[in-house]
């Protein structure tokens, strides 16, 4: 048996040999995760998307690597118009299982069309803006934004819900119902939609009827408030109901038909239209544009201030580094100064020792060197002569040094020692012995 967490063998006591997890506990958690996935799948199949989202989130709490649950959750978010949330679930899923994962296909499909992705981004931005307007009390702007969004994205559930709330606040329950009908077409048991309908006094039986009648709506068509009359007329024709109470504007009275002469008012209409247009632009569109430009400016300012603060941090760090390096240089200079002083002192003490060493030591060293040459220990003799020369220079030391080098077959150094002897001590008794070597 292999561990469900890490794949290592499971011990006889039922625990993993590597991660020590209980196999039974993990198996139960994974089974529960699959159970909630199945529940979510069943709910998604009958378009109960809110219920499916709840079940799938629960499934992921039991096993976050449940690929099917994550992919389905992404798909539901996508269907509800929340493309980026869907994409996020698919990216996480593809990270857990990079091969043979349907999430990769979904991601490719979304990313292959940059225009679509940009549109989804714009949708999110516009919705957030509309939400901000609604929260700030500028409801007219929120209406305009939401209608624009929903005409391009007829599947955007959150947008319909916010629009319905705005209509309800405005006292326009019919239009709110229409928006909620769309929600129920996409997400059959949307709790928020049902709550709003109940608050508007729609009974549970009527809600069921509303759900049934919503099946006639094609959720892929662009949303438009003005087709309410058509929809209700269709209901009327299909159900054969002989009253018009449910129609959008039941108070309209049908009077006698007579042709209106509007020619004389045409110019006035045009002028009024222009004024209304300019006012609408001034009051509705211009503030939105200004807001978006201000928002952009704020973002840019924020970005620059972040950059400046990060640069300041870098500069202060670099200054600290410079200070520490300067301190190191000072320390190094002090150390080298100290070392130099020590060396000078050593040299001075050596000179003192050298001056005070008795000549007997020099003689003893030279004598010992001569003995070592006779004994064939030329290396030792070289060392002894060098020590003797350190004490003070002397013809004997140079002579035996040259002889020791000769014995060691180092003719170059031997010649050098003899030349020094000849130059420094031309009256030496050894000159005759070394003349042959120097002339060679």
């Amino acid at each position: 048996m292999e561990c469900l967490n890490c794949g290592a063998p499971v011990l006889e006591n039922g625990h993993c040999s590597r991660c020590h997890m209980s196999y039974d506990l993990l198996a139960k958690a994974f089974n529960t995760s699959n159970y909630y996935y199945n529940l979510g799948l069943d709910r998604a199949c009958v378009r109960d998307l809110t219920g499916a989202v709840d079940a799938l989130n629960l499934s992921l709490k039991y096993n976050k690597q449940n690929i099917n649950a994550r992919n389905l959750l992404g798909l539901i978010y996508y269907e509800m118009g929340e493309v980026v949330s869907g994409l996020m679930q698919w990216v996480i899923s593809s990270n857990y299982l990079p091969d043979n994962n349907v999430a990769l296909k979904y991601i490719d499909e979304v990313q292959s069309d940059p225009v679509k992705l940009e549109e989804a981004n714009q949708l999110a931005k516009q919705f957030n803006q509309a939400l901000m307007h609604a929260k700030q009390g500028t409801k007219d702007l929120a209406f305009i934004q939401l209608k624009r969004i929903l005409s391009s994205y007829p599947h955007f559930v959150k947008g319909y819900l916010l629009l319905a709330l705005l209509y309800m606040d405005n006292g326009n329950n019919d239009k709110a119902k229409k928006a909620l009908k769309r929600v129920l077409r996409i997400d059959k048991n949307n709790t928020l939609a049902v709550k709003y309908l109940s608050e508007m006094g729609v009974g549970s039986r009527d809600i069921i009827e509303l759900k049934e009648s919503s099946k006639r709506i094609n959720p892929d068509t662009a949303y438009n408030d003005d087709d309410q009359y058509k929809s209700d007329l269709q209901t009327f024709v299909e159900q054969g109901i002989a009253n018009l109470d449910d129609l959008d504007d039941p108070d309209v009275e049908v009077g006698a038909f007579h042709e209106l002469n509007n020619n004389k008012f045409n110019l006035v209409y045009v002028a009024v239209g222009l004024i209304v247009g300019i006012l609408a632009f001034w009051l509705l569109i211009l503030p939105t544009k200004l807001n978006s430009v201000n928002q952009k400016n704020r973002d840019i300012k924020l970005d620059y201030s972040e950059q400046i603060s990060s640069k300041n941090v870098e500069i202060s760090e670099l200054n600290k580094q410079i200070e520490s390096l300067n301190a190191q240089i000072d320390e190094f200079n002090a150390a080298s100064e100290e070392k130099k002083t020590e060396e000078d002192e050593k040299q001075e003490s050596f000179e003192v020792v050298k001056e005070n060493v008795p000549n007997s030591t020099y003689d003893a060293l030279v004598g010992e060197a001569a003995k070592q040459i006779e004994a064939g220990q030329h290396k030792k003799a070289i060392q002894l002569c060098n020590v003797a020369l350190e004490i003070h220079e002397g013809e004997e030391a140079y002579y035996y040094l040259g002889m020791a080098y000769l014995g060691d077959h180092d003719e170059k150094n031997a010649k050098s020692a003899f030349v020094t002897l000849k130059e420094n001590y031309p009256e030496s008794s050894h000159i005759e012995d070394i003349t042959d070597y120097i002339s060679e």
Binding site: N5, C19, H20, M21, S22, L25, L26, A29, S33, L60, K61, Y62, N63, K64, Q65, E82, V84, S85, L87, M88, V91, I92, L117, A120, N121, L123, A124, K125, F127, N128, L131, A134, K135, K158, L161, L162, L165, M168, D169, Y196, E199
Partner: protein, 49 residues
């Protein structure tokens, strides 16, 4: 009766594409395996003390 201000406060903003990366990196939802791992780590650390 529905209170508009209260209800509208319950709406959360949508994720934008620029925020997706952060959302993915900070998606540290714990599942049962994580909880068990934490428990085992705590038990082992107590034993070590």
């Amino acid at each position: 009766m529905i209170n508009f201000d209260e209800e509208v406060r319950k709406f959360s903003p949508c994720l934008e594409v620029t925020q997706a990366e952060d959302a993915i990196y900070h998606n540290d939802v714990k599942d049962i395996t994580d909880v068990l791992e934490e428990m085992y780590t705590q038990i082992n650390s107590k034993k070590g003390e």
